[in-house]
Each structure stands twice: as structure tokens, then as C-alpha cells.
Subunit: 331 residues, 2 copies
DNA sequence: TTTAGCACTCTCAACCTTTAAGTGCTAGCA
DNA sequence: TGCTAGCACTTAAAGGTTGAGAGTGCTAAA
């Protein structure tokens, strides 16, 4: 059922006002805050209708109305239709891009920091697998005490791995060359899936370095299952001032539970920005988006907060950031 | 002024009980909870005396007493005298030790995690400079796009650095050999301070790789000024249940302020475990300790909480962890 | 030095009252 | 049919009162 123009206007204004002031919306405040030329009685009828449709609810008979989860959702949908840029400091995003010499971990942490600071809400970035990273460079370096450090350059920064194996300088060089020759330009997923085949096809030339390569692949498989989670806690102290203790507690609990964060950040659809509004089932609201590079999804980013939070600001900040990242070519 | 045995007993019991139950101590509860054979009236006199000395205070005329900051401090001092081990999972500490292949960052994060989980309080580890790390191994690796990755093995894990310079394979090998020859076994501080001298004394042999070495030292100087801070938020949601909203907010604010955390973690004395009790000046309590390796201080670790927190449990957990680490020889 | 006894103080919870805000409803009007 | 004015009704919030209960300080006696 589609809402009349006036109902839409009233509902959106109500949600925004409630997000801002946290005080229930009354027929009087609607009259003051909109340019609608009608009496409070008329507005009361409208509010009554919106309540009957499930968008608003009264906390008690004579105390104004507050948005329901459904009301928030309606607002958020309208919002995403006309999502526009925001005042995120684009400079920061750009400097991030130029610093691609960093490790993936640093880059992820930097993205979380930028969004966290721009929105003043807790922000989580999740890299849930390295399959889609594109390989650019390999370096295997023998270290003291039978260890080998593997340095893998990708289109999204470097990743490191420590292997507990004994290998000679020459074996490392051979392995480096072998990997560079066959897998440069491919994704990590491709390499892990196809390495066996490559080795089968050249059983003649297999030598000592094969052991090194196998160990690396084993390591990567393990690494792939681990999730790289970066959590920023911007504004979590502020939650206590802005929200009921109960709501704040819910958000803080979620932030401490890494499994739940992973679940939350898993993207449902193929769209861009997705919003989940807290209701009886989910204890906090999330605005999340995929991070892509060269068209492949690498990670997802989510801003976590209570039901009453600044969806508009967050969504537009996220949009700016992920658009910048998505535009970025993995040189 | 020294307290009588009985006063000591009463005060310590009062603090412990208040930490546990968060309800004011009355003459009745003291009688119930201690084995002292005297009447409540006598105990009232004692409580009165302790109040006059500043260890306890009444919130209102007839409502029992709670410890003052001074009272907590007295308790904590007594506590540290007889600090004993706890049920921290020593296995975890040991597995940490065996995983010295990791990077310093990973090790620091692991220490914070162990203590955070053992105490259920927010825990911060601060590495405020790399001067005292002992150098074991160098590897300079030329990468694509005019970059050089520097891998420095120390007695406390590896540190990485990315240099934005152009260098040949041979220059990197030369630099690696040069550094290994002169500084293996020394501290990073020594190397940074003395490198100029070494170079002066051998102006004849200075060659292309000098540029690489200089760039590395510059980088290390910069790195040395940065502080490596790892913050775990264990139990920060629980704070909201256990404490007044105000106290919880204070702790959460501190956790968000990296500068303040650095200040807090700076050790005052030369002792082992230090405890600061929250009072008018400091908004939260801290139990902190130095992390040493081979007798040199590398970092400090602190557990942050409200005034009313489990000092005994935290102090003993910290003691176990830092003793294990201090015993550790940086092979 | 300790104890028993007692008057005193203060919080807390329950209860009531008043006030002001905001509503739903109805009847009348465009 | 939609809008409006008016009015009775509801409710939360704030303020005040009360009684009960817990715990104290003080005093006099052991």
C-alpha cells in the first residue's frame, strides 16, 4: 500500500525529528515543523492513520508517537532512493588509496577508521576470505630457525605469512619464480584451487621447492577460513548519553561478539548499501555495504548502532567511501 | 599511621564486600562476615574511626559506609604484599611464547587478549618505542614499484617496514649484510644512535646501499615515536550492568581516547604491578605492569576499570602473565 | 574496652494530588 | 468528502506526604 504524499512527508519528518530529538512526535510538532497548511486535528487524523498502518506507535495514550521498526524502514527506503554525497573527508580516502604499499590489515583498519570518524558510530570492516585478491608479487624469504616468511603482494595491499619449514635460499627463489610465472595476475582463489593441477602437469620438474609451495598453499587455505575483522568503537561512549542504557548495552554487546559481527556483516543481496533496522529480532541497526576492487568483492563494511540513529548521515558517508574504493583500479 | 589488626581486617573485608555486592557496609554486615567476636556497637565505633581516618565514608547519615579512594588504596597495598598466582590459563601464555614467529603486533594483540579474557576487563597494551628490542635478523627485499620491504627480526617478534625507495637486489643484499654484521645482537636504540658513527668511520667503503640504510634508519626513528597501542574491550558491555551509568561512561570514554590511554599506561615507578584508584582527578582505576624481556622493558600492560573493580583478581592475573613473559629468554 | 539500649536521621517505597500535554471524538462547515 | 474547532478524557511527570525500616551516634553501665 502506497502512502499519500502528505503521509509520506509527515512520516519522514517524524522519523527525522525523533532521531534528532528523541522526543515523541505530537500533532503540534508536526504542524510546527512542516509547511503543511492544516490544523492539528487534521494532523491527528493522519497520525492516527499512520499508526493504524503500523508506521508509528504510541507509548501511552496521550504522549505523542514514535516510529516503529517498520516506520524506520520506510524512511530508510525513501532515503536510499535519493542518497547523495556527504561531507566525509574525501582527502582521507584518497590518501588511503595512495598508501597502497601498506598491508591489507593496515588498509582495512584505515577504512574502518575513516568511516568511524566520519559517522561517529562504531564501524566494522570484515574481510571474509582472500579468494578474490589478485596476485601481483611473491617473495619467499628464508629466515633464522627454519622459518620462511612469505610476502604476497595483491591488488589490495600486502599479506604476510610465516611458514614453519626449513628451506634453502635456492628453494625459496625457485618457489618465488614458479609462483610468479604461473599465478601472477590470477586470484588467490584460483591459485589455491588449481595448484594441484599445475603440479600434476609437470611432475617431471617437481623438485625440493614443491614442499615450500605446498606449505604455502596449506597456510593460505587456513588463512582463507579466518576472518579478518576490524572493529572501531567510535562514539560508543556517546551512546550512553544519546540512548537508553538498554539500547546502548545491546549495541556494546554486539560489538564484543565477533561471531555475531561476522553474521551481521554478511551481505544478503547484491545491492549497494543495505540497512537493517533493529527490531524484536535484531538487537541493533546496521548500515552496511560491500567493498569492491576491480569489480570483485573483497570485504564488507558496516556501521552499527541503535534503532534510533542517523541513517541518512551514515548511508551517505558509506556511499562516498565505497564509491571511492570501487572506482579505484587495482593498478 | 598504622591501623590496628582489627581495623585492617574490617577495612579489607569492607572493600572486598563492597566490590562484590556494591551495597554499603553496615556494622551488621561486618559482624556477619568476619569472625570477630564483638558487638555491632563496637564495630560501629571501629567504622566510625576508619571514617575519621578517611578510609570510609557515609553516603548519608544512616546508610552504611563505602570505601573512599584512600580506602581502596590501602586495600590494594595490602593485596600486593601477598599477591599470589591466579587461574589465568598459563597454557595460553605458553603458547604465546612458542609462537614467537609472529610479528610484534600480533604478539602484543595476543597478550592483550589473554589478559582481557582472563580478567573480563578492558585491557590495553602499549609499546611506546622500539629502543629496547634486540636485533636478531635483517632482511631487505626489493619489491615492485620502487619499494623496499624491511623485515627486522627481534627478540620479541618481527617488525616490518615499507620504504618508498628504489634499490637494486644487490644494494639490498649489501645493506642486509652490513646491518647484520654491525648490529646483530644490539638494540634498535643502539643502532639508531650509533649508525652515523659507524658510517663516519668507514667513509671509504660507503656505497650505494648507504642510501638504503639511511632510509631505514629514518623510518625507524619515525616508527619509534609512534606508539603501538592495542586495546581490548572485554567486559565493556558488562560495565553497564555492574556500575552506575556515569562510571561506565567514564571508563568507555577513556578507552576511546588514545592519548589518555598512553598517559595512563606510562609507568611511574620501577616496581612491578602498580595500581591507580579512580578518584576526583582520575576518572578510572588502572592496574598496570611493565612487560620485560631479557631485563629490558618493552611495553606496559594495563587493565582499565571503574573505582569499584576486582583489584585482587586483576592483579594476580597480571602477575602471572608478566612473570611468564619476564622469565622468557629472548632466545 | 566493650556492650546494651535508645533516640535520632535518613532513604525508600507507596500513595496521593495537581498540572500540562496530547489525544480521540463529535458536530459543524466548505 | 475532507477539514476544523471544541471539548472531554487520559496519562506521565513532578511534587508532596507518610510510614516503615535500616543504621547510626551517644550514653551509661559492665
Amino acid at each position: 500500500m502506497e502512502l499519500s504524499d502528505r503521509k509520506q512527508k509527515i512520516l519522514c519528518m517524524a522519523v527525522e525529528e525523533y532521531i534528532r530529538e528523541c522526543s515523541p512526535i505530537t500533532s503540534g510538532s508536526v504542524k510546527d515543523l512542516t509547511s503543511l497548511n492544516c490544523s492539528t486535528a487534521t494532523l491527528r487524523n493522519e497520525l492516527n492513520a499512520l499508526e493504524a498502518m503500523g508506521y508509528l506507535k504510541q507509548l501511552h495514550t496521550s504522549g505523542g508517537r514514535v516510529p516503529t521498526a517498520q516506520g524506520y524502514r520506510y524512511y530508510v527506503e525513501k532515503l536510499l532512493e535519493k542518497a547523495n554525497g556527504s561531507d566525509v573527508e574525501l582527502d582521507k580516502v584518497k590518501s588511503l588509496i595512495s598508501s597502497r604499499t601498506s598491508s591489507l590489515t593496515e588498509i582495512v583498519s584505515e577504512i574502518a577508521k575513516i568511516v568511524g570518524e566520519a559517522t561517529s558510530y562504531p564501524t566494522v570492516v570484515l574481510v571474509d576470505g582472500y579468494e578474490n585478491l589478485v596476485l601481483k608479487e611473491f617473495k619467499l624469504i628464508p629466515l633464522l630457525q627454519d622459518k620462511v616468511m612469505v610476502l604476497i603482494g595483491t591488488n589490495a595491499g600486502y599479506i604476510y605469512q610465516n611458514l614453519e619449514i626449513k628451506a634453502t635460499e635456492q628453494e625459496c627463489v625457485d618457489a618465488t619464480n614458479y609462483l610468479t610465472k604461473h599465478f601472477s595476475g590470477e586470484t588467490i582463489g584460483f591459485m589455491v584451487d588449481n595448484i594441484a593441477e599445475y603440479q600434476d602437469g609437470m611432475s617431471g620438474e617437481i623438485s625440493a621447492f614443491q614442499m615450500v609451495v605446498n606449505s604455502l598453499i596449506e597456510g593460505l587455505k587456513k588463512l582463507n577460513k579466518q576472518k579478518l575483522l576490524n572493529v572501531r568503537r567510535e562514539g560508543s561512549a556517546k551512546l550512553l548519553s544519546d540512548q537508553s542504557v538498554d539500547d546502548a548495552k545491546k549495541v556494546l554487546s554486539v560489538l564484543e561478539d565477533e561471531d555475531e559481527l561476522s553474521n551481521i556483516l554478511t551481505l544478503e543481496g547484491k545491492g549497494d548499501i543495505e540497512v537493517t533496522v533493529a527490531d524484536e529480532d535484531s538487537s541493533c541497526s546496521v548500515v552496511k555495504a560491500p567493498i569492491r576492487l576491480d569489480g570483485r568483492q573483497l570485504a564488507s563494511i558496516g556501521v552499527i548502532g541503535p534503532q534510533r540513529m542517523d541513517y541518512a548521515g551514515i548511508a551517505s558517508a558509506l556511499k562516498v567511501v565505497i564509491d571511492s574504493l570501487n572506482d579505484l583500479k587495482g593498478e
